[in-house]
């Protein structure tokens, strides 16, 4: 925690240093023209920061941030021209309008994914452009106040604007930094990297995204409002135009996506570059400035696809990293915390039913993937679900944790109905889950992955981190490997990490979807005791598995699904002898022979 505070202080110091250096340069420059450009750099940096909060962190790419920029600009302008409200109040008002617009736009648009979201966002400013033209605001200029200009944010000295712009930029940087380093930003990052995993890990994607949209829209609106004050003329084309949205995107992509320094770097380089090219070449070879600017962007994108910040950071990290071949903590073999003895023979007693399903069905068109399944899992049990491929096992899990809605039936967890809940809500009630194919957040470390899972069970970020460390210790991941990037893990490490993520918020019930799939015999022997230990510590487990010999050793109870129907249920030894089960696995033809052998 002390390290964390130090990291914060370091960032604060960096921001302060940047702000002071920038202002010092601005005050040293005598030329009002260069000062104006330096003000514009900050305006576009704020716009880029706004874009970054939504699109950089959560990965929902917006091509339409001009909508908020324009609303901010027009709020300031109309408030000034029609009602005589000073921009000192107009800009905060614009931020409010921007945030409201963010909510109104977010509600319908967040239903869309990927490209569709990006394209829908593109449409909003274009629509607003026409609305403002239709309303007769083609060209509105902010009147010059000859008396008391300061009260109307009108200064003869560009440097005053620069100070205001810098305050705005610093505020947005500090907010962004706190977002980045908190549950807010980590959740957005998790959503960006793997939405289903984030939801299953208890992250309320809709809520965080909406917060991001509101914050993002507010920043863009502030930039727009201040832009109106600088430019003094507002037209729909200048504030709602596609170029305005593009500018936000370009400065952030160029400088670095998903980090608040990105838009600052991008804007500081690109805005003066574009303007200098324009000033130097515009009247000599008209249009050439656009070509040079475009080529510069293309080159940077090719060389540093994630932006300059990341390229430089990767370089520095690579230099700091130990030379190849040196022993690394990460390479240490994984061993369970404590060796566990097999006790399959012991008959165990279980508590009251924890999970109860009654006639649960889910159909895809005519295909009944889960067909009137009724089962009951007592507390403390390892409950195995087996069945041939396509039997509906994973679908049943998806219905259980809220990815899919059941068409009918009731599901109760500790007596409480959980049908109809969203994945993060199911998770919040104490249901963890892993996936058939591991869903990790590849660009986060193992610890960060697990922290994401811990948020739902923790009030503070520090508590989440403590829970994550505890969960990692439970699955035997300690030392240097917790700081490895998830993208570089082996299958077994990934399985353990996912297990730790599910365990982090201390769930009552764990749904394990083929956790053992793809593992070799030795690796299997490493994981089975961990699952067993987790169960002994009080977590009820429902596990889907193909690896029959592992299941027989692990599960207290079997149920068998075939074509979505529950065809058998009972003690493992009994179930494997059940003719219906053998038929389901091997077909009728083989049933008799198999029957003989089992007998």
């Amino acid at each position: 925690m002390i390290g964390k505070r130090r990291a914060y202080l370091r960032q604060y110091a960096a921001i302060a240093l940047f702000a002071l250096a920038y202002l010092a340069l601005g005050f040293a420059v005598r030329d009002a023209y260069y000062q104006l450009i330096m003000v514009q750099v900050l305006v576009w940096a704020v716009m880029g920061l706004g874009w970054n909060v939504l699109s950089g962190y959560s990965g929902m790419i917006s091509f339409g941030h001009a909508a908020f920029f324009g609303l901010g600009a027009y709020t300031v302008t109309i408030a000034f021209v029609k009602f005589g409200i000073t921009p000192w109040l107009g800009i905060p008002l614009g931020v409010v309008v921007g945030v409201i617009a963010g909510v109104l736009i977010g509600i319908p648009t967040f239903r869309l994914r990927g490209h569709y979201f990006a394209l829908a966002m593109l449409a909003y400013p274009l629509a607003m452009l026409y609305v403002f033209e239709w309303m007769g605001y083609q060209e509105v200029s902010l009147p010059m106040k000859r008396e008391n200009p300061v009260a109307y944010m009108q200064f003869a000295d560009q440097r005053t604007y620069m100070v205001i712009a810098m305050l705005l930029a610093v505020a947005c940087m500090v907010i962004s930094m706190h977002v980045e380093r908190s549950r807010f930003g980590r959740s957005l990052l998790a959503i960006k990297q793997n939405l289903p995993a984030a939801e299953a890990a208890g992250i309320d994607a809709a809520r965080w995204r909406m917060y991001a949209m509101m914050l993002s829209a507010g920043m863009a609106a502030a930039a727009g409002g201040f832009y109106a004050v600088i430019l003094l003329v507002v037209t729909p084309q200048t504030v709602f135009g596609a170029l305005t949205s593009a500018q936000a995107l370009i400065v952030a992509l160029f400088g670095g996506v998903g980090v608040f320094w990105g838009p600052i770097i991008g804007s500081t380089i690109l805005i003066p570059l574009a303007e200098t090219l324009h000033a130097k070449l515009g009247d000599i070879l008209p249009g050439i400035q656009g070509v040079v600017y475009g080529v510069a962007i293309i080159v940077i994108i090719l060389v540093a696809p994630d932006g300059i910040y990341w390229k430089v950071r990767d370089r520095i990290m690579a230099r700091r990293a130990p030379p190849a071949g040196a022993p690394r903590a990460a390479a240490r073999p994984i061993a369970p915390a404590t060796p566990i003895a097999w006790d399959t023979a012991a008959s165990r007693s279980f508590g009251a039913p924890l999970l109860e399903l009654q006639n649960v069905s889910r159909a895809f068109g005519g295909l009944r993937a889960v067909d009137e399944v009724t089962l009951s899992v007592p507390e403390g049990m390892i409950y195995g679900i087996i069945g041939p491929n396509g039997a509906g096992k994973t679908t049943l899990f998806n219905v259980l944790n809220g990815f899919l809605a059941a068409n009918q039936g009731a599901m109760r967890l500790a007596g409480q109905e959980i049908g109809g809940l969203k994945p993060h809500e199911v998770c919040a009630r104490g249901v963890g889950r892993t996936f058939q194919v591991v869903r990790s957040f590849p660009r986060m470390t193992v610890l960060e992955n697990v922290v994401i899972g811990a948020f739902v069970g923790a009030k503070t970020d520090d508590e989440a981190e403590r829970l994550a460390h505890a969960a990692l210790a439970r699955v035997g991941m300690t030392g240097g490997q917790v700081h490895m990037l998830a993208g570089g893990l082996t299958t077994k490490q990934l399985r353990l990490m996912e297990l730790a993520r599910a365990l982090a918020p201390r769930p009552k019930l764990l749904l394990l979807d083929e956790t053992l799939a793809g593992l070799g015999h030795d690796e299997l022997e490493g994981i089975l005791p961990i699952i067993r230990q987790v169960n002994r510590e009080g977590v009820t487990i429902v596990i889907i598995e193909h690896t029959m010999h592992a299941m027989v050793k692990l599960a207290d109870h079997f149920c068998v699904l075939d074509h979505g129907r529950l065809i058998a249920s009972g003690k493992p030894a009994d179930v494997v002898k059940n003719p219906a089960v053998i038929e389901a696995y091997l077909g009728k033809k083989w049933m008799d022979r198999a029957q003989d052998q089992v007998a």
């Binding site: 023209y33 060209e139 003329v233 303007e275 324009h278 515009g282 008209p286």
Partner: protein, 415 residues
């Protein structure tokens, strides 16, 4: 070697400089034969580059003329030096251009530009604060509505153009046919300029002129098919059609369709608005026989008495005829020259006063602007007249104001 005498001399000079500079800027002292800098901020790149280039050519033509004729006589024959700056394609760039001009060209005494009203509004926010006299051809009323003291508008503002066009056209019709038209059809696209132009007409202007509005259609450019619009013309048969379009291609579709329906070539006269309709390149899109008879109103166009201007401009630019944009560049430069002759010094404030005092009825400046050069306190040209231009035999010819007209208007006789 420094002698006592030179010290006294230098001291006296210094005192004189000090004394003068408190009263007037120091620039005065160096005015002798030093070139006078005039800024031209115009879009030289981006979508409006063509218009900006025409302004530039006009200004260059005038500057060459003035310099060849001995420069500014009141200033010891000082030559005019144009400072060309690209306004680019956005208000932000235009404003930057103006700020750059003010910061890096302190010797500039006046300027013109930058075609698009939005640009002009942004630029004049900077130039006004720097007390730099600025003349523009931009139409927007707001340019001279802000109480600025250093801004001049040589065009009739858009609001007035709109009000003036209708009676002017009706009078032309009456002069040609002997009676006033009784009915009209209106088509306009929904962009800024046509909407603003048609607004006063739609809000009672047409009815007040005694016209029956048979239909009033608005569309979003570009058109993919003009048939539904022209069907209205065919069934309604207005005595004339008011069609205001920002794109030539839409007008082309419409005129072709009218031709197909045998409504073109003056059967139903078409009245429009905008300088773009008189550009030489219109003929690249529209065959001359199709555009024949089209009438449009515009702030300025080549009129009688401009042969010399037109020739000089044509020689410099290679353009077949001079339009509003070239005339603006040319005329504005001459206005500055006339005012500089009066001021006798390269001083912004003094020059501004002299521009306000101008009342020119002859000479190149007055020739460039029908109605002469005289500005009111707001900076609007008091006697500005809207020009009506008609395409006749493959050329856009001014048919109004009548005394400066290049040709008589042709209005088809309606039964």
């Amino acid at each position: 070697m420094t002698t006592r005498r030179t010290i006294i001399k230098q001291g006296a000079l210094g005192a004189a400089t000090l004394a003068t500079s408190t009263a007037m800027p120091w620039r005065m002292l160096r005015a002798q034969a030093k070139p006078v800098k005039i800024a031209v901020i115009a879009p030289l790149s981006g979508p409006w580059a063509r218009q900006g280039t025409l302004i530039k050519w006009g200004a260059e033509t005038a500057a060459n003329e003035i310099n060849a004729g001995g420069g500014i006589k009141a200033m010891g024959g000082a030559k005019i030096e144009l400072v060309l700056i690209d306004a680019g394609d956005s208000a932000e760039k235009a404003k930057n251009a103006a700020q750059r001009l003010i910061a890096q060209e302190p010797d500039v005494v006046a300027g013109m530009g930058a075609w698009l009203s939005t640009f002009t509004l942004a630029i004049t926010e900077v130039t006004e604060r720097a007390q730099l006299p600025w003349i523009t051809l931009s139409y927007a009323d707001s340019i001279t509505d802000r109480g600025f003291k250093y801004v001049f508008q040589s065009s009739m503002p858009a609001g007035k153009q709109s009000v003036e066009t209708l009676p002017t056209v009706l009078n032309l019709a009456k002069a040609a046919t002997g009676k006033l038209p009784q009915s009209v059809g209106v088509i306009g696209d929904n962009t800024a300029s046509p909407t603003a132009f048609l607004k006063p007409m739609r809000e009672g202007g047409l009815q007040k002129a005694g016209l029956k509005v048979l239909f009033d259609e608005t569309y979003t450019p570009p058109l993919s098919d003009a048939t539904p619009l022209i069907q209205k013309v065919r069934s309604g048969r207005p005595e004339f059609l008011l069609w205001v379009s920002t794109t030539i291609s839409d007008l082309k579709l419409g005129l072709e369709k009218m031709n197909e329906f045998r409504l073109a070539k003056g059967v139903v006269p078409v009245i429009s608005n905008g300088a773009h309709l008189g550009m030489p390149e219109v003929l690249k899109n529209l065959p001359a026989d199709l555009i024949e008879g089209l009438m449009y109103s515009v702030a300025n166009h080549q009129v009688k008495g401009q042969d010399r201007i037109n020739d000089a401009y044509g020689k410099h630019s290679g353009e077949p005829w001079i339009t509003q944009d070239g005339l603006a560049g040319y005329g504005h430069t001459w206005i500055f020259k006339e005012a500089l002759e009066k001021a006798g010094v390269a001083d912004r404030v003094k020059l501004n006063e002299e521009i306000h005092k101008l009342d020119l009825t002859s000479g190149p400046a007055a020739d460039s602007f029908p109605g002469g050069v005289k500005f009111d306190a707001a900076g609007r040209r008091t006697n500005a007249i809207v020009c009506i231009v008609q395409w006749q035999n493959g050329k856009p010819l001014t048919v109004y104001p009548t005394d400066r007209a290049m040709a008589a208007p042709k209005w088809p006789k309606t039964s």
